[in-house]
């Protein structure tokens, strides 16, 4: 039986992690079908049909799907599930919210946040904030799996031409009403997919001081991250949080500034290719994962860092 991928999108276009989830789905079984549920989402459905990995697109439209409410999404996916061996989507806030609702309806024990497909029924997943890796075999007939997007490469996004099949909507779940979404718009790359991330922690001391980080991020074409301490202190909004309960990032370069390196923060960034730590406390745990550590006062180091960057002839983007 084929694998059903749940596409994540904003009704206009696919969200990037759909491509990573498609890669993971294809490692379970090459016969990948993708379902897209939304309102006026034809463009996104077409984009989905162009992924060479996707063999068939199921499109479900309805006004009550416009805001991706799990209570509305779960019943239609449960209905489709009888034709599939696996249901797959990203383990970001979209998939985390939705998949367990599907799994419970199917009486399936979900496998969350996998980082590797070992075989169609066996997966590797981090536990304890990534301090241990567990190999899990699912004995359920139908498997519900969420994948850690940064552990799978995005698939090709053009060249395919899968057929798009319309599927009937299900009834609206009337006890949940969407009110609003406050998205922070930014010209910077998305935190989850950025090549470079510059993150600030409690050591930044104020929201204003984050401009030292912003400046460098702009120079490097980087996304801005933060530790939970910095978000809790109100220096920066929650969508920047990196860590066990925030986002997991795997950039080529992660620069941690004024971040001590609690286990919960390391869980979100320690797979980064190159890690830089700037901290005035030489004993801070962040140095234990850093490739390059600089023991310095960040209020002196960051302006110097900017100066040094300005001296470079070229900067990779």
């Amino acid at each position: 039986m084929a694998v059903l991928l749940i596409a994540e999108h904003n009704n206009k276009e696919l969200r990037p992690f759909t491509l990573n989830a498609a890669t993971a789905a294809s490692q379970i079984d090459s016969d990948v079908h993708a379902v897209i549920i939304g309102q006026n989402s034809a463009d996104a459905a077409k984009q989905l049909s162009e992924l060479p990995l996707v063999k068939k697109v199921l499109s479900i439209e309805g006004a009550h799907y416009e805001n991706f409410t799990a209570e509305n999404f779960a019943p239609v996916i449960v209905k489709l599930a009888e034709n599939y061996s696996h249901i797959v989507c990203s383990a970001n806030t979209f998939g985390k919210n939705l998949m367990p609702r599907i799994a419970a309806h199917l009486d399936t024990s979900q496998v969350s946040d996998i980082i590797k497909v070992i075989s169609p029924d066996t997966f590797l997943r981090p536990i304890y904030a990534g301090n241990a890796f567990a190999t899990i075999k699912s004995n359920d007939a139908k498997k519900c799996v969420t994948i850690r997007p940064t552990s799978f490469d995005p698939c090709e996004s053009t060249g395919g031409s899968a057929p798009i099949e319309k599927v009937d909507a299900s009834e609206e779940f009337s006890s949940t009403k969407f009110i609003k979404r406050e998205e922070i718009k930014s010209d910077r790359p998305e935190l989850g997919t950025a090549r470079i991330v510059v993150s600030g922690g409690r050591g930044m001391q104020s929201g204003d001081n984050f401009k030292l980080i912003t400046e460098i991020a702009d120079k490097l074409g980087a996304a801005i991250g933060a530790s939970r301490a910095a978000v809790d202190a109100g220096y920066i909004s929650n969508d920047h949080q990196v860590g066990q309960t925030g986002k997991v990032v795997v950039p080529d370069l992660y620069i941690a500034v004024g971040i001590s390196g609690a286990i919960q923060h390391l869980a979100g960034m320690k797979e980064s290719k190159v890690i830089v730590a700037i901290n005035k406390d030489g004993e801070a745990p962040i140095f234990s994962v850093a490739d390059y550590g600089l023991e310095a006062d960040l209020f002196e180091a960051l302006p110097q860092f900017m100066e040094e960057l300005n001296k470079l002839n070229t900067i990779q983007k």
């Binding site: 998949m99 286990i263 830089v276």
Partner: protein, 249 residues
């Protein structure tokens, strides 16, 4: 309004996890255990709602072995009125826990069920959503703000893109983010008082729920270790290394 809050006993968030040499799990002997951190936020929120006169009773429930009762006792010490301990040996999957909680909901008939959004041991992030599916109730996951309005809740949810606000009808499930509130500490007099509050013990086997595992944990291993890095003397050296050695800028 009656609020049921589910709490879980986990290895304390400050403990450095050690993997057992035989690959069967992580070391839990002589390791400090505590309430799962966002479950503390769930209790705090329920108690605050009661203190604001919008709830009449807060009931704390845990599913677990003998010692899991400590988490219920702690909830009672910070303001929960009574406790329920569903006793079970071994580790249950979130699906099994949600089936047990469904039975407790059938019995207690709460208007709201709160719990943490994720347990920091298995990091599954499933139980609240599963319970709400089994009950066919609305769910507000990853809540960072809750407004109680008559028979509705307005909940602000933390999502990857920012914040989302939804309105859900009671009865409902809310899973709590760490930013929802600042959990209080139990005072000594309240800890003493909590010892007199009732905790009902229920054997999981008496609930008629199939809790048999569906997943097999074949192996638990240490993640690959990072190679130790170097300390650089100054910013100029750092930028030079990033440019010419790591070649990332």
């Amino acid at each position: 309004m009656k609020i049921l809050v589910a709490v879980k006993r986990v290895i304390d968030y400050n403990v450095q996890i050690r993997v057992k040499e035989d690959g069967t799990g992580v070391v839990t002997d002589n390791v400090k255990m505590s309430t799962n951190p966002p479950d503390d936020n769930a209790i705090e929120e329920a108690v605050k709602i009661k203190e604001a006169g919008k709830a009449t009773e807060v009931v704390a429930v845990t599913v677990g072995e003998e010692k899991a009762q400590e988490t219920v006792r702690k909830a009672l010490a910070v303001g929960a009125d009574r406790g329920i301990h569903v006793k079970v040996d071994g580790i249950l999957e979130p699906l099994a826990v949600s089936k047990i909680l469904q039975k407790i909901v059938d019995k207690e008939k709460p208007d709201l069920v709160f719990m943490g959004k994720q347990a920091i041991d298995d990091d599954c992030n499933q139980t609240g959503q599963m319970l709400s599916a089994l009950l066919n109730w609305p769910q507000a996951t990853f809540a960072s703000k809750i407004d109680v309005k008559d028979n509705k809740l307005e909940v602000t949810r933390e999502i990857d893109e920012g914040l989302e606000t939804i309105e859900i009808n009671v009865p409902a499930i809310v899973t709590c983010d760490l930013r929802l509130n600042e959990p209080r500490y139990a005072s000594l007099p309240n800890i003493m008082k909590a010892k007199k509050k009732p905790i009902e013990e229920i054997a999981a086997s008496d609930l008629g729920v199939d809790v048999s595992p569906r997943l097999e944990q074949l192996k638990v291993e240490e993640p690959p270790k990072r190679k130790a890095g170097i300390k650089v003397a100054n910013v100029a050296e750092l930028v030079q290394k990033l440019k010419n050695e790591a070649k990332v800028i």
